[in-house]
Symmetry: C2
Subunit: 316 residues, 2 copies
């Protein structure tokens, strides 16, 4: 009988350090060929879309999927974890909060391997829920001493700044413009719903690491071509999925300014095949797609913790 | 909160006539562009595989998926039904029995539109669980007065014959060979695990309708090239999925003996765009893939009946 885990169950079990540890292990496994990811497929609805993606982590004997409908009425995410050794369906997990944490954790992991180790200042463009977990993850990965946030609505960025100051116990301040936000930052996080690029070539200087985690869908861009082509190392959590829906990369590649060969799997960096950066002056870019391997990896850990602690209910 | 429906719940609610009515409606909707199907994706496991497939039926405001792991340890199927109008996940349905019924119903539906209306005798090659629902469906679609069954193990075919005689209240007899089984049959059902063709060109004569429903995977064939190329009308429930995994069709097409243009979507026949047969002498062939639209269509109906009758439990 599968274990059903609610949002509250997940929230009680999963922390950012656990999620980051879990993804570190999962991407290392993928680098060794012990985990596989299948890109997201979408069915368009009116309005919104239905999304389905799957992955297997052979070393943990699990395979599974995330499915969700996204529309103006909201989003409902579910992750199913199956055993690969005959026990069938292990868990049905409500995965809204889990998705936010794993998306943050992927950026944290990329920052750990790609940002300068002495990075101290983070700029966040975007002040939604996902911005919080992005900043929390980068602060977990690096020894961050301050952060700035920009979003178009003053009240939102100020609310984010005061909440994150309290959560992370470092000064987080609101900036009045993208320029003011990113100036001198060691790490930039783009986590917006923008369809137009918010990070342009002028925002990119030697040594910076950028996590682009908001856009998702081939009509949406967060970085313009000048910003992307300044990067010396570009990584993404899944190249095949990026080829379908990462406009930040698709546009410069269509324009002949970049090739897919220059885009490295995050697994190859975590696994040590490809350096995350070659010098302190390198510009590094992580294009986050949000992939099923992240969901299955974190979902497996949450399931295992739930069993150990007696959390969740067996259904039916 | 989603409704969780067990195998027992499904068994209590779903009958073959309901499933056939449901698929008739779903394939008509697909013919009008009101339903879409996404082919199965598989992740290989050792041993076995993980399978995931999705579909939307816009007219019913549902979208969903079937997922399952298949290995020596057994198979566990689950269908998730989502609302497309913002209510999120509606149902989690255990779908082993439902899958058997919907696979039968698809062959029943094809037989309704493709077999000669006066068909009286059915031959079944294969005596497993799926053979029962295949024969039940064809008997529901047509005015069948007798059936014969062949499988390699005498006890299995005799058990099948006596069980189905009781279930369908028509004489069902065991045949000692494929030849004896198919001779003079109006409808032939192939529902085997065979990797070698069981139906060859000599088994195919004018007027016969064949449902090939067992093989699933590009290494498995039920019909040889001579049998397939004798067919005047060939249909399948999903051409895109057939192009990935229907060896019965892929092999003759690779050999230049057939083209994909000759393979018609079942929806075009149900929707009236393509005749199911042109004369009493036509040989007609339905290659059943088993597709997510069938699962979502039947799953939506089961969910709706469950709500009406108070069956199932709300989770968590």
């Amino acid at each position: 009988m599968p274990l059903y885990l609610t949002e509250a169950d997940v929230n009680q079990l999963l922390t950012m350090p656990i999620a980051m540890d879990c993804l570190d292990e999962a991407f290392s496994a993928q680098a060794r060929g012990e985990a596989v990811n299948t890109p997201r497929s979408r069915i368009p609805l009116s309005p919104g879309s239905y999304n389905l993606m799957s992955a297997a982590w052979h070393g943990k004997n699990v395979v599974g999927q995330k499915s969700y409908t996204a529309s103006r009425a909201g989003v409902g995410f579910h992750v199913l974890i199956y055993s690969t050794t005959g026990e069938g369906l292990l868990a049905i997990i409500e995965a809204n909060r889990m998705g936010q944490i794993r998306t943050g954790a992927a950026s944290g992991l990329a920052s750990k391997y790609m940002a300068r180790p002495n990075s101290g200042t983070v700029a966040v463009i975007g002040s939604g829920y996902q911005g919080r977990t992005q900043l929390e993850a980068v602060a977990t990965a690096l020894n961050i001493d301050s952060a700035r946030v920009y979003s178009r609505t003053k009240a939102n960025r100020e609310g984010f700044a005061s909440m994150m100051t309290a959560d992370l116990e470092i000064p987080v301040t609101a900036a009045a413009s993208v320029e003011e936000c990113v100036e001198g930052a060691d790490v930039i996080i783009a986590i917006t719903n923008s369809s137009e690029p918010v990070i342009t070539g002028e925002h990119v200087w030697p040594g910076v690491h950028i996590n682009a985690a908001g856009a998702n869908g081939y009509l949406r861009r967060e970085l313009d071509t000048a910003a992307v082509t300044k990067a010396n190392v570009i990584a993404t959590d899944d190249v095949a999925q990026a080829q379908i829906e990462c406009a930040d990369l698709m546009r410069p590649i269509e324009a002949g300014r970049l090739t897919w060969q220059q885009v490295k799997p995050l697994a190859s960096i975590v696994g040590g095949e490809t350096p995350g950066r070659n010098s302190d002056d390198d510009v590094t870019l992580f294009e986050s797609q949000g992939i099923a391997l992240e969901d299955v990896a974190v979902g497996e850990r949450v399931y295992r913790m739930a069993v150990e602690r007696g959390v969740g209910i067996q259904v039916p």
